[in-house]
């Protein structure tokens, strides 16, 4: 009898299938506290047709599949939730298929990373840019968009899912489908409308509705005039109020705020970093841009005025040009604003990294930070909040990052801390993102049950055999 492994080998070649103990171990866990579970196999397809055959075989054999890009979701999202799963590692599908200069989009495969997009655009399309996360440069651009992540244009344009013009996916039943204007042909991925917006069948689903094999994502013209500033502020409410004013005035392309501890980590302070009485609570990196220097100068002038006004309440608020930051810290600092992934270094201290992150109503942002801070302090972890005004201040993001040693005690403690943070977030009606199963389950308890039921029905409709990432999102 032909074994399951052999059947997969016939699809992708023997070199691209493994059931070795090493692969089963390494793909069973990630940097977070989420509990591990071993897959039975790892397969690495290189084309959409191979993905299609894998999915068809999985249906025949009733084998669960878990898509894997680079496994850095910080939510345990590639850890199988059921036994005997097959991990579908997509890193061999790493082609940038097309950049359309006029329509300003790129079409890429799921193994393409931020770093590779960045390099390719700089070399081949220097007037265009994508948007970059603070994750390592080598995380998947498609997975990030599917997870509705946030990058350095999110302050203006919102979550990464907004950047999707369309996609191609292998459905859980094996059909290859397209959604978006690309339904009319390969050179036509200009947008999602006016059509039933089926991109939403794939975003936020954590790989439960199919495997995306191709995606068209918006690019943006680089602005000719750009300046960066660092803003140091005090207190959660005052900081968020000030950011709201700045972003509502449409001044900033990006505004990423960090607990001051992260700023200290960036300048090389060794772990663990403690907050010191009297130092600012937050450092925000602001990017301002303009089509003309006049436009930029005017934005800078308004920014300064807003910050000056804030000094009536907090005289120590400080806005400094980024050149001064670079002089103080190092030339490396330019890398952080130019390509935020370059700054992720401070998160590589230990083998453990986790966070509880959410999107939240602006009215609850300050309170979430204020109370969340107390929780993190209670557990004795470093204060590493990251917050971003989103989509022109229509909503906000916050997360508390915890870097930790993955020993038994910390795994437990970190989970408790994230649990408390989640309860707080849900009390404030925040929606957790990149949710591990335990977190999704808590969301279900509070959410409109008809919504959860609808999600379940759509999932069952698309995946009658329940092979795509079963158990994910608590379903």
């Amino acid at each position: 009898m032909v074994s399951l492994k052999e059947k997969f080998e016939r699809i992708v070649g023997a070199d691209h299938v493994s059931d070795g103990a090493a692969e089963r171990y390494v793909y069973s866990r990630d940097m977070t506290e989420n509990p591990p579970r071993e897959p039975q196999l790892v397969v690495m397809p290189s084309t959409a047709e191979e993905v299609q055959k894998i999915v068809r075989l999985a249906n025949e054999e009733r084998v669960p599949l878990v898509p894997f890009a680079t496994g850095q979701s910080v939510g345990g999202l590639t850890i199988p939730q059921v036994d005997d799963a097959v991990i579908v590692d997509l890193k061999r599908m790493n082609k940038i298929l097309n950049v359309d200069e006029e329509g300003m989009y790129m079409v890429i495969e799921p193994g393409v990373t931020f770093g590779h997009v960045r390099k390719y655009l700089d070399e081949s399309h220097p007037d265009l840019r994508y948007t970059y996360a603070i994750s390592s440069p080598f995380t998947s651009v498609i997975a990030n968009a599917l997870l509705q992540g946030l990058c350095d244009l999110s302050t203006r344009y919102g979550s990464m899912a907004e950047f999707i013009n369309g996609l191609e996916a292998v459905l859980p039943t094996g059909e290859i489908v397209r959604v978006g204007s690309g339904i009319l042909g390969d050179d036509n991925w200009f947008g999602r409308y006016p059509l039933p917006d089926l991109v939403g069948l794939f975003t936020g689903w954590q790989g439960m509705t199919g495997i995306v094999t191709k995606m068209a994502l918006q690019l943006w013209p680089k602005k000719p005039f750009t300046r960066h500033f660092a803003l140091f502020t005090f207190g959660e409410f005052m900081t968020t109020d000030l950011l709201k004013q700045i972003v509502r005035a449409d001044l900033a392309e990006d505004a990423g705020a960090l607990s001051f501890s992260v700023v200290k980590a960036l300048i090389g302070m060794p772990a663990p970093i403690e907050a010191i009485e009297g130092e600012p609570d937050y450092g925000t990196f602001l990017t301002l841009s303009g089509i003309t220097s006049l436009e930029l100068d005017e934005k800078v002038r308004v920014l300064k005025r807003i910050v000056d006004r804030s000094k009536a309440e907090e005289p120590k608020n400080l806005l400094i040009p980024f050149e001064a930051v670079a002089r103080l810290m190092s030339e490396e600092a330019y890398g952080w604003v130019d390509f935020p992934s370059d700054s992720f270094k401070q998160l590589t201290e230990y083998d453990g990294l986790t966070w509880m992150g959410t999107y939240i109503h602006p009215k609850n942002w300050g309170e979430a930070l204020f109370k969340g801070r107390k929780i993190v302090e209670k557990y004795g972890y470093e204060l590493m909040a990251f917050l971003k005004p989103m989509k022109g201040m229509h909503f906000c993001e916050f997360k508390f990052i915890i870097r930790f040693k993955r020993d038994d005690e910390n795994l437990k403690r970190v989970h408790q801390c994230n649990n408390e943070l989640l309860d707080l977030a849900l009390d404030l009606k925040a929606i957790p993102y990149k949710t591990p199963v335990w977190s999704a389950k808590k969301l279900h308890e509070r959410a409109d049950p008809n919504f959860i039921e609808l999600v379940r029905r759509i999932r069952d409709l698309l995946d009658p055999n329940g092979i795509m990432n079963p158990g994910r999102w608590g379903l």
């Binding site: 691209h16 493994s18 070795g20 850095q72 083998d351």
Partner: protein, 378 residues
Amino acid sequence: MTSDESVIEQWLHSCVRCSNCKYVFREYFPSCPAGEHFGFETYYASGRIWLAQALYKGDLEWEPSLLDPIFACTTCGNCEIQCLAPHSEHIVDMIEELRARAVQEIGGLPSHIRFRENVVQCHNPYGAEHHNRNLVETHSLPLQAETVYFVGCTSNYREIQIRDATISVLKKAGVDFTVVDEYCCGSPLIRTGQLAPVNEAAQHNVDAIRDAGAKRVVTSCSGCYRTLSRDYPKLGIDLGVEVMHITQLLKELIDKGAIVPRPTEHRPTITWHDPCHLGRHMGIYDEPRTVISKLPVDLVEMETTRENAWCCGAGGGAKAAYNDWSVETSRERIEQALRTGAEFIVTACPFCSRNLRDGCSEDGPPVIDLTELVDRFI
């Protein structure tokens, strides 16, 4: 190594699996020949580190399917350069310790065991008849000298043109040197976790070098250079003399005028391949380039160079155990060299020479050692 300190234990809670070690930082070229070829997460540094930690903690049982992820690594150290985490400079040490544990627990790979047996029986991994000392007669060398030329097994039994060019250059430069009855330095054994026979061979070399009354040892091989200068002290073995790589000595000889390159009509264009054991492992990047700059040649660098150089694919026991992948890796380097338009690929490690040549098809430029290049011009 022999010390009780476990580098795996020391870094038990490092490596967040951020993937940075997979590519050259800010350049985004692939950095890891193993990961690039095999693709599974386990074949990148991070995968091996997590395996090392799991095996150390007892979260994973030893079994033979672990051997490939543990041994399919050239120990090129490129991951160390790209990793931004605190453990970065210890990654290869962790991999080597993991290998030593694998050898103890489940035995090594058959091809590695074979060359270990050769080292024990014939004092070289190739199983060639041990004839090092004959060089003294052939080249009328003294029994004692200030400098010992440590030929290394690959130069002595495979890439003999490197040995001959080195002896020729040293003679032309008037260096007071000899060769001794050297045994394999132990590099192939240390890199593949087979530590047991190393101390005896090393002690033999210490005695031979001492008997020659030498003040310094110079090696052709980047692997020998690393082993004599970095691994011997860790093993508690004191050579008691200065250890130099030939590229360093060539620079010294040019600087003091003992070697004066002749001008030529045709200045060939060459490219330089940084051997991993010389560059990333020992930090020697400038000396060979300085030597090249004094020769009547034009150097064109490849797209990955110095600490980011793509590995030739031969190291860490990869050539013996995974020849196809090893040659495929060298082929990548040849492609880079071809893109420079160079007429020669020059390097300074017999092992790199051998594998780069294996990766060259008819279109590839000839691969020569720096000593051969120098010898042509003096």
